[in-house]
């Protein structure tokens, strides 16, 4: 049982390894403190029996002095132990956070989506804190509690065996009650945590989607959803408290019963002359000490119960599949493989297919049945020729953005193959695939930092002149130069301090700064006004011609792709037409429809 648990939490427990010293020395110091603590009541009994009863001033003074020294030593022990606990517990917390963070970053997009951002966040904060708290408690209290309990009972036995029996029985009863209550609450805490996750995700959705929610007047709907999650959580908390609120009153009552028993039995023992009055006082002290220790134990068990739930959730992340291949080992492999690619690129002439999709299908769901309705893209075959501009058009949900994600190997095709320079990218590391392209995503993200840091994301370097040039191409220089600090102007989380259009232009500039041979743009200028967009398309065209870069432009509008060398028309995950603008107007019904709705037919 114990062993299987150790195995179950092996990833989490391995973070304790660097703190072995603290884990041993801390409890040892605490043990010494506990020894002193148990001896103190004996000395108190001595003062009462000898000092007070016989009015021996010197004895009282001497004993008090000894007690003073003992207290000082135990104080030092306690402080040392606190330091060990603080160091180890925060260390474990930091290590867990780092490992989880690294692990999540190595997951594929699909794997990340399974866990979800909000759950990951709760795991990396609340659950890690809980585990860290448990480590601290482990060092500070776990050695102390059993020692004080057993030591207390032993010391009591040295005074009087029958009365110590009372204490022992009470302690055992106390422990059994405790464990019973805890066992039955354990499962319920798991439910509580899950429902708290639910609240987090509902609220997060409402915050992030606030614009959409407002635009579609879904306020009430979302408010209800938040309230539902909140009251479900409330129910689970109340269910747990039904049992857990019994814990302290019942356990305290058990210990109080033992006080009554001590008074009763003690009376008999004093009457027979077996023990003295001072002994009973010492006894009472032991009961108080043991009650305190066991109450701490009760709190400990609650903390550890919750910690096991948290550890399970942490372990889930640490053990989850992280299928993106490790960069270091991969770079060795890919240098070995780079050779043939170079050979191929030797014959790279215009019109050579740079990217090729062969019968590619993809579903966001992991289902085995061949229900084609679930496919985001369905049996796609097309080519992107070097130096060309390829346009992809289609309605929302037609699978345009999925193509981009597949090219970047954010997802792997459910079936079919994708080739770059004639090589199947399934054989390539993610990193190598991504080095070939610079994307601008639909609703792209910026990060906290400066404009420069955002442009050079990933730690590439480029001088100011080149940065400025790219900002100019992206029509972003105008506003960046006006920002306080220019290239070093502050960017808030997700570019909060910029407008939607400004964000998009910065993201285009970022893609240009990365200078890959393939520029991928997914609805990249949707938030720009007509005039700026036209200027952008012109400078971009110039840039592409100048550098010979290949460009894939995904758009819901026809205008940005009207001049493309080749256009793919998507509908419901399928390729329904391809060709040049004029040809498509003639022979592709879907394309003609889109053109008509955008009044582009005459262009």
């Amino acid at each position: 049982m114990k062993d299987s648990r150790t195995k179950k939490f092996s990833q989490t427990l391995s973070t304790l390894r660097p703190f072995q010293k603290e884990l041993v020395l801390g409890p040892l110091a605490k043990l010494l403190e506990a020894v002193l603590e148990v001896t103190l009541p004996m000395m108190m009994a001595h003062i009462v029996d000898v000092g007070i009863t016989s009015h021996d001033h010197e004895d009282v003074l001497r004993t008090s002095l000894v007690m003073g020294v003992m207290i000082l030593v135990s104080l030092c022990c306690a402080i040392f132990c606190q330091y060990c606990a603080a160091k180890a517990s925060t260390g474990v917390g930091a290590l867990l956070r780092e490992r989880m963070f690294t692990r999540v970053n190595a997951m594929s997009t699909k794997e990340q989506e399974v866990i979800g951002t909000e759950s990951l966040m709760v795991r990396m904060t609340t659950d890690v804190n809980q585990t860290s708290l448990a480590v601290s408690m482990l060092i500070r209290l776990v050695s102390r509690v059993p020692f004080i309990t057993i030591g207390g009972v032993l010391a009591a036995m040295s005074i009087d065996i029958p009365m110590a029996g009372v204490l022992a029985v009470a302690s055992v009863l106390f422990l059994i009650t405790l464990l019973l209550i805890i066992r039955s609450t354990f499962m319920q805490y798991g439910i509580v945590e899950k429902r708290l996750d639910k609240i987090t995700s509902e609220v997060r959705e409402s915050i992030l989607g606030v614009r959409v929610i407002r635009a579609f007047s879904r306020n009430k709907h979302h408010e209800d959803k938040m309230n539902d999650a909140s009251s479900a959580y409330k129910e689970s908390v109340i269910a747990v408290s039904k049992l857990s609120s019994l814990m302290s009153p019942v356990t305290v009552f058990i210990m109080n019963l033992s006080i009554v028993a001590v008074i009763f039995i003690g009376g008999i023992r004093v009457d027979t002359g077996a023990i003295s009055k001072g002994d009973i006082i010492a006894f009472m002290n032991y009961i108080f000490t043991i009650v305190t220790a066991l109450t701490i134990l009760a709190n400990l068990v609650v903390i550890f119960t919750r910690t096991f739930v948290s550890m399970e959730r942490i372990e889930e992340v640490l053990r989850s599949k992280a299928s993106e291949r490790d960069d270091e080992t991969e770079s060795l492999k890919s240098t070995a493989m780079d050779k043939p690619v170079d050979d191929i690129s030797m014959e790279n002439q215009p019109n050579h297919p740079l990217v090729k999709f062969e019968n590619v299908s993809f579903s966001y769901l992991d289902t085995d049945d061949d229900d084609t309705d679930l496919l985001a893209v369905d049996s796609l075959s097309f080519q992107i020729r070097k130096g060309e501009k390829l346009g992809i058009i289609g309605t929302t949900g037609s699978g345009k953005s999925t193509v981009l994600a597949l090219m970047l190997k954010l997802y792997s095709p459910t079936s079919g193959e994708i080739y770059i320079d004639g090589e199947n990218i399934a054989e390539w590391s993610e990193e190598r695939v991504r080095a070939q392209m610079s994307p601008v995503f639909q609703s792209p993200r910026l990060f906290r930092g400066t404009v420069r840091e955002n442009l050079l994301l990933g730690g590439i370097s480029m001088d100011d002149k080149e940065l400025k040039k790219r900002l100019q191409i992206a029509m972003a220089w105008d506003f960046v130069s006006k920002m306080e600090g220019g290239l070093d102007a502050k960017v808030e989380a997700n570019g909060r301090n910029l407008s939607g259009g400004q964000r998009q232009r910065l993201c285009i500039a970022r893609a240009l700064c990365h200078d890959a041979a393939l520029l991928l743009m997914d609805d990249a200028s949707s938030a720009l006004d007509m005039e700026t967009d036209e200027k952008l398309q012109a400078t971009l065209k110039e840039h592409l011609a100048e550098t010979g870069k290949t460009c894939v432009m995904i758009s819901a509008r026809i205008k940005p792709i009207v001049d493309a060398n080749w256009i793919l028309v998507f509908d419901n995950g399928k390729l329904v037409g391809e060709g040049k603008h004029d040809e498509l107007l003639q022979n592709c019904e879907e394309y003609a429809k889109i053109a008509a709705s955008q009044e582009m037919g005459g262009v």
Binding site: A78, M121, V210, V270
Partner: protein
């Protein structure tokens, strides 16, 4: 209306000073009681009952040691035990403990329920506030910040305020009750012990005050790292596409290390009030014992005193961890 603005201020204040709420739960006053009653709404009558139950159980726990002390003082020595009285005291004690246990169960059960209701109500109010807040609010406040307010801060307020209040009530009852008993038994000894106790409490409060500073700097780093985590998870597409994995892990490591260093300090310092208090508990006991002998008086009351002192300090040391939890 007044309540509304306070809620708004509450939300608005989060980023500049996330600690404000925490501070407010730390120093609990009777004004908070009113506010809590307001948040709980339906619980007004329940609150009164709850406080009465807390007073009863707390009061019984104060009085009990006097009875056990009396019982022990009846055991003068071999063959000199007044069994009839001892049995009577033992039975009275039994009844007192049973009643106290019952009421303390009532208190903890309903305290949990009221806390859960309060949290749900606060969340409900915040949810409806969400739909009335201008969109610009969400532009100027990080999602993670608002989120932590909705999730963990609400929990802290509901739990902390209620626990704090109950602890305060129990403490006031225990301390004042014990003081009364001590004054009845021996005013002179009380004079020695009370300043000692006061010094202990003052010292502990002072240290606790110092730790607040460390905690707020730690709290800032926690907020920063939370924002980093959220940003990284949400921006995975970009991070992957632009090969920023390594640099973002590096940046995270740096922040994580800063947080670690700061939390070691905060946690260590905050744990100090506990050991510091230990000597101050024993010293007055020793000195008072010494004092008792030199006065050659109050022999009858000696144990009762010691147990009373024990109660005071026992309570103090058990309440201190709860004050830290907040």
């Amino acid at each position: 209306m007044a309540k509304d603005t306070s809620m708004l201020q509450g939300i608005g204040n989060l980023s500049p000073d996330a600690n404000k709420m925490r501070k407010s739960t730390r120093s609990i006053s009777f004004r908070d009681l009113k506010r809590l009653a307001q948040y709980t709404g339906e619980g007004r009558i329940k609150m009164v009952f709850l406080i009465m139950a807390a007073i009863i159980s707390g009061g019984l726990f104060v009085v009990a040691p006097v009875f056990s002390g009396n019982a022990i003082d009846l055991m003068a020595g071999k063959g000199k035990v007044d069994f009839e009285s001892v049995t009577r005291y033992a039975l009275v004690l039994l009844a007192m403990y049973a009643i106290a246990a019952f009421f303390s169960w009532i208190v903890s059960y309903y305290a949990n329920i009221i806390a859960a209701n309060t949290a749900a109500r606060l969340r409900g109010e915040m949810a409806s506030k969400f739909s009335r807040l201008p969109v610009s609010f969400f532009d100027t406040h990080a999602a993670g910040d608002v989120l932590s307010r909705f999730v963990s801060d609400v929990e802290a307020i509901a739990d902390g305020l209620l626990q704090g209040l109950l602890t305060m009530f129990t403490l006031v009852i225990t301390v004042s009750g014990t003081l009364v008993f001590m004054l009845i038994l021996s005013p002179k000894m009380t004079l020695v012990i009370v300043p000692m106790a006061a010094v202990t409490v003052l010292l502990a409060t002072k240290i606790a005050g110092k730790t607040t500073k460390h905690f707020s700097s730690q709290q800032r780093l926690v907020g920063d790292i939370q924002a980093t985590i959220e940003e990284d998870f949400d921006g995975q597409r970009e991070i992957k596409a632009f090969g920023a994995k390594k640099s973002s892990i590096e940046a995270f490591r740096e922040k994580n290390e800063k947080l670690r260093v700061s939390s070691v300090r905060a946690q260590f310092i905050s744990s100090l009030p506990n050991p510091y208090r230990a000597p101050l508990i024993i010293l007055p006991m020793c000195s008072s014992a010494h004092w008792v002998t030199s006065l050659e008086a109050l022999r009858q009351a000696e144990y009762r005193h010691l147990s009373c002192i024990g109660t005071i300090f026992h309570d103090q040391s058990t309440t201190s961890p709860t004050s830290q939890l907040k």
